[in-house]
Symmetry: C2
Subunit: 130 residues, 2 copies
DNA sequence: GTTTGCGGTGGAGTGCACTCCAACTTCTAG
DNA sequence: CTAGAAGTTGGAGTGCACTCCACCGCAAAC
């Protein structure tokens, strides 16, 4: 059955991608419209057909999002990606900066976690005395 | 000059609290209006006078906020506080749950951080070969 | 072939957490 | 006493990241 087709056999519909990523179909379309996901391949009738490369990029973009990168910055990164090899250094710089911010964020969260633990200890003490 | 005044000597104006906490004056008023900060003492002419206890609570509320607690949940916690000792167990339960969520969040961020590191390594490899 | 339903588009609407504004009062410095 | 800075309130406006809607075309199942 394998033959020379325009699309590389295994592509997913928007609903399948939504299920795999946890994003809604609307959000997938919104991301694409925003230039955050490169234009996805279409079937003859104009329906989105997500390829493996699309899924890899979406997964990575979600890591950026989940670590607090704004849509605007993700757009910037996606734009650099479309710019090809000449933008590698700039993309690396963005990632390094984002990584550093993430490290600081984790450190702050851990400090706040310790303060929370103290407060929890305090409340536990109150309950024992009652 | 020390005398028997209704307010315990050392109180701060809204601008001073804004400077100390990094919140804007508008945000401090918004939090109070939302019931997130208990009604703050007022001067004879109706101006807010923040006492030490107010500052302590604001500091703690900011830790809740910075660790991702919603305004709605912070309102709930503040309401329990106003409910007095009988709400201690419920407040403790909220804090424990929030702490558990924070632990999960930190774990996820660390995993994403490792993925970011891998991506950064990849980009560094690309740059060396050029 | 028609019903059911998935997918497309453009654009409007939502929820959250602020942020700004207008109109007014009060405090402080000169 | 007066100018200007700082404070008050209620309510409107903002930015972000979605989320929903109406209406249309195409597809798949019966």
């Amino acid at each position: 059955m394998a033959s020379a087709m325009p699309l590389p056999a295994a592509t997913l519909t928007i609903t399948e991608v939504a299920e795999r990523t946890g994003l809604s179909r609307d959000t997938l379309r919104y991301y694409e419209k925003a230039g955050l996901i490169d234009a996805v391949g279409r079937s003859a009738s104009g329906r989105r057909r997500y390829a493996a490369a699309d899924l890899d990029w979406i997964d990575f973009a979600l890591r950026l999002r989940d670590t607090g990168m704004s849509i605007a910055d993700m757009q910037r990164f996606a734009e650099l990606r479309r710019g090809g090899d000449s933008t590698t250094a700039e993309r690396l710089a963005m990632l390094r900066e984002h990584r550093a911010a993430l490290t600081r964020r984790i450190r702050d969260l851990e400090a706040n976690g310790r303060a929370l633990d103290d407060k929890i200890d305090h409340y536990e003490g109150l309950l024992e005395d009652s």
